[in-house]
Symmetry: C2
Subunit: 468 residues, 2 copies
Amino acid sequence: MGVVLLLAQTAAASRAERCVTPRLTAAVQEAQKRAAVEDRAYEWTERLVIECGPRLAGTAAEQHAAEWAMTEMGDAGLANVRAQPFAFMGWTRGEARVDVVAPFQQTLSAAALGGSVGTPSEGIEASVVRFPDVATLEQATTADVAGHIVFIDQRMSRARDRSNYVSARPVRSDAPVIAARKHAVAVVIRSLGTDTNRLPHVGMTRYAPDVTSIPAFALSIPDADLLALMQARAGSVTLRLYSSARQQPQSTSRNVMGDIMAPVHTREVVLLAAHVDSWDVGSGAVDDASGVGVMLAVAGIVRAHRDVLRRNVRFVLYGAEEFGGAGAQAYVDAHVATSKHVAAIEEDLGSGRLWRLQLPRRDDASGVADVLERTLTPLGIELSRDYAAFGGTDLEPLRALGVPVYDLDPDASSYFDVHHTANDTLTQVSAEGLRQHVSAFASFALLLAGVSDECLSELVSVATGSMH
Amino acid sequence: MGVVLLLAQTAAASRAERCVTPRLTAAVQEAQKRAAVEDRAYEWTERLVIECGPRLAGTAAEQHAAEWAMTEMGDAGLANVRAQPFAFMGWTRGEARVDVVAPFQQTLSAAALGGSVGTPSEGIEASVVRFPDVATLEQATTADVAGHIVFIDQRMSRARDRSNYVSARPVRSDAPVIAARKHAVAVVIRSLGTDTNRLPHVGMTRYAPDVTSIPAFALSIPDADLLALMQARAGSVTLRLYSSARQQPQSTSRNVMGDIMAPVHTREVVLLAAHVDSWDVGSGAVDDASGVGVMLAVAGIVRAHRDVLRRNVRFVLYGAEEFGGAGAQAYVDAHVATSKHVAAIEEDLGSGRLWRLQLPRRDDASGVADVLERTLTPLGIELSRDYAAFGGTDLEPLRALGVPVYDLDPDASSYFDVHHTANDTLTQVSAEGLRQHVSAFASFALLLAGVSDECLSELVSVATGSMH
């Protein structure tokens, strides 16, 4: 071993010593032992899926799930369990149908994109203009597009993390506005996914106030293959689109939350999150019932070690996450004045094996990173020093305020096979896999809420710059 | 090498020499070379799927596909291209819906089984009795079952051949009659399949004249998982079933056929088969558009070597195969008097790599088996000496008359992931994979239709016993 490396390791160990007490270290070890043998996360996941089913934001099913979550939070030992209702722009799917009508006839497997407007009741019939990606659509002229149905045939490839999804997402979120500016009558996209199943991937799209809102659909991946082949063979293909989707202004959803209060009074909060709502096409088992199950199990374990906490741990199960932002903003609006958020993390990328911890910003100097690395490495999780933590949709308003957000990244190689499809079922969730999640998130919660003030303030000041 | 083995090989080589002329051997080699470089089978597969879509027997789409096939048979160089219409008991799917209504509420992904009757328009609501397999249902008493919905939760596991499907098939074909005899009100089955997709596997069921016909549904595999979990958790689960499926007496379908006539007059026929119809839920790409594509490509290649034939080669693309038997019987009724069928083979197990040739009955003594082995081994196909050839649904009436049937078995390890589901799409078919199929089937056709009379009569007499 080189001298420099040895010195670095010694320095890291010494920084770590300043951060954790032997009692805290012992609590983390106890938590990991318990997480390794209990299946409560899976139990809760299974019960949420079985008892509540799919939980589209704004529906009675989502409300039922939120009430269920409050009861379970109480059982897990959380204090101050409460719901926070908020209004958002909801949506009903209705019926959707995409038919090839010329020069061939057959029905494609498709779904309306979340938030999209419907078609007239007689549908929309027009010929298709195919674009290999959004960039090519952006370069097209109005003459290329006007009066046509735009088909974005962009492929998304498999990756261990969310990066390919993030780069493909403009296909779903931006294409309708870009196409409408060029007077397209509708948009169909190749689903954002990595499978070959005849199940469309849904998810939110967006409109802009100054552009006509045009209907937008996702085709399943084999159906996008088929449409592309038809176009290549026939030159021109005519589709008939029908959708009775409708935006629902003034829908109501709710965040559900509960706390583990540190034995000493403090306004400092470590926030752990998942979301209660799901898309309607599947069971919402991996997105995000398993996140909810993990959080409830973590709550039970952290609760048992409340005595080592120097900060409160708050569990927030957001509503309407899939509708992007209203619940997250409502949480921040109501809580940043009364609580000082020192760290936040969300579980929302499936139940694959956790392999990486991402840090919020450069904090090599802090002992917390060293402690986290020492604690998570034995669980197979490497500390990334890319400082590229994402946080999660629900944590964006917190991150915007400078709160340090972290990612514990599951292996997402097969997550986008089922993401936002009917295939998001319990069959995709492994009880054994979730044990590691509980172990890691419980360790994270105990450490961030238990490290010495000195270590934490060092961490927070590095991570957020201006906050202190 | 042992003396005995050496002697056996020498004997086999000498038997083979008696069977094939150098011209026939050269023709087979030419055919294999051509098959290795052309993609006509895939082209035809793609065109059938794109131009005709799913082809439920008795529908206009099936008729359109049959007309398409006649045109393509002409292009492939076949003579006597003709359609043979026949009547059969058809079926329309209508709409189907399976809802869990108590103690939880959610919709399961399900489809009516082929040929099944509908429910009353208000549906059927009853509690579920689960059976792990058909054998357990058979042992149940009427008191166990009467008034309930029977749920057969039998699992089918993966295999390289069709064996696990054959052993699981009674779940779909026999359960409604067994359950109705015990006064069940309906049947739901775990789909016969090896995947974890939320897409039910359809396929025919059967009723008996002396028992009430009760509605029957397949649940997708994850939905069967879910229902089983619900039952385990709640003890009793109530379902509401709805189906507007209807039997259609006097539907019409048609077999399409064409010949390559040997240069000498003969009544002897080597029959190669696939089927035009498909289930409606998918594209019918692997079941059996790829079979049709392979047969058309084989026809084109065999046609080019017509001069080496001693027997006619007939290509039959059956109608209504999925409805089991009417087309096959119609073919036999019309043709056994005028043609002497010396061998038959069907391509209907997907486009996986061919790995095995199965022989009709014990024929070690014939030179044909040796010639086939020598010809197919370089393609990666082993000669099975289990003598367990199945032939295919369409060949059963021929087999019953003593016609020797063969199987060229593709690797079916993943076939039952998509079989009879919406996932039966072009995306599952590989152009490269089909080249080997064309090579093997063309070799088979040339050899069986080209070997010496002496060899063939030896083969046929061994294979069929009483025919000669």
